[in-house]
Symmetry: C2
Subunit: 313 residues, 2 copies
Amino acid sequence: MEILFTFVPKEEMQQSIIAEFPDADFHFIYKDKSKLPTADIVVTYGEDLDAEDISNALNLKWIMVASAGVEKMPHSAIAKRGITVSNVRGIHKTPMGESVLGHLLAIKRSLPEIYENQRNHKWERKLRSSELFGSTALILGPGAIGSEIGRLLQAFNVLTIGCNRSGNQADYMNEMISFDELVAKLPEADIVISVLPSTSDTNYLLNLEHFKAMKKDAIFMNFGRGDFVEDEILIEAMKNKMIAYAVLDVFEKEPLPEDHPFWGMDNVIISPHISSKSGKYLERAMEIFRPNLRKWLDGDKEPTNLVNMEKGY
Amino acid sequence: MEILFTFVPKEEMQQSIIAEFPDADFHFIYKDKSKLPTADIVVTYGEDLDAEDISNALNLKWIMVASAGVEKMPHSAIAKRGITVSNVRGIHKTPMGESVLGHLLAIKRSLPEIYENQRNHKWERKLRSSELFGSTALILGPGAIGSEIGRLLQAFNVLTIGCNRSGNQADYMNEMISFDELVAKLPEADIVISVLPSTSDTNYLLNLEHFKAMKKDAIFMNFGRGDFVEDEILIEAMKNKMIAYAVLDVFEKEPLPEDHPFWGMDNVIISPHISSKSGKYLERAMEIFRPNLRKWLDGDKEPTNLVNMEKGY
């Protein structure tokens, strides 16, 4: 059994995996695809495989994506071959939940102004601090990450409204709506957070009509994918102060171009696609991979967090 | 019955109080003490009464302090006269809990660096973000505010250790210790938060020995009172990087002098004593005052949140 990692974990982690599975043959190689033709399993961040790679990978039966997004993978090539795909859905929930709550509390409790005043050695107590307490949050995509955000928000006495395609119940949501009901519900929300994946249902789902429906003091956070809303629409919404703040972790084009208007807008906060990052990432990904690999070697070919390549999540 | 407010709430709030208690005679006057001699009840922020005022206030039977701190009040003059004192302990818990969590999450999730990089139009993904998840927090003063902080921290999977004089159990603390056990326990804490009031037991309780006992990557937060630790000790601790961060909402001298070394220290965050502030403050104080006043007028002279003037809290 040949297992190809297309990234290189720390030496210590490599040794620990090799020691745990002495019968498997591991390769940890970055950007070199020479081992693809013989690999049975590929572990990847999901951004380095194209249709040609899939056709070259003659033995490939399982792709473990050490990430949540699979939109850069060659879906139809993989689906056609019936290759199993799994991801690490859910391990992002802790750092992302903390980032989302951190940004919200920072805005409510005037942290940007506090830092700015310190830089100017200025003791200024007249800040417009407010509270998260008693707010209403609308969470687009209440899956593992969205529900974790919901759980944390509820601890701060925030009412949570989940929004997905079906409107079916999700964890830690006081209420659920479907995409069709979004525009009608937006006027109730103080906070609108998207953690939606990129799929044909969510691509450019949000348009100007949605921003017009939001409260003037609403905070919009895109922590899902950059193609959820066009930059041009967001720029128009924020220039015209249709809402109070946009906190963006994802963008149509990443890195965000140097001359992009977002950089200089004081009601836009730019988080350079790092909200899921924390030192614990790969460690947690391996905690999902290892038992799955054990099962796979024992003949159970259904790893947890299976991804349906046709649906895209 | 004459009721003197030594501050002036918004007109709307004044009218609503007057309408609720038509038999009482209200005065809302800032800095003018001419009504003190005839006042039966004084509602104050607790910073504008001295011993002479108390001796002039011949009819005074109840001081309602619309704040938590009573250390600037003339304790013995009030105690001698047997004047009832109550405060609004607990209404600070929501904004303070949100400020404490906001600062902690901001540090863990690299918000100061994110803001700084945006100012420089710099897309930088190599930040040392970490997580609150799995940390241990030591909370000095687990009363209404400290327990609220404990509740929120537990929602982020933080282990909470409460510390007070007695070591008696408090809400939302996984463990309790007394002041005597503090030095021995500090090496376990990733976060040390004081929300202690200023009393003879807590005055300058913290010294260099405590900072030496803390982890090198610990975060210390003083959100209680500025006389919990000498500036000089904190400056020495932070200059020598004995710990990673100090987040200070209170100071020995406020406003913090313009030339104070704290301003320029990049491991010190200066919050200008605003962590309890939010637009909802006075509204909540009145929600405590009004039922207490109703009871008082009905002959029940035991308002909630009684303060023992001899103990000082």
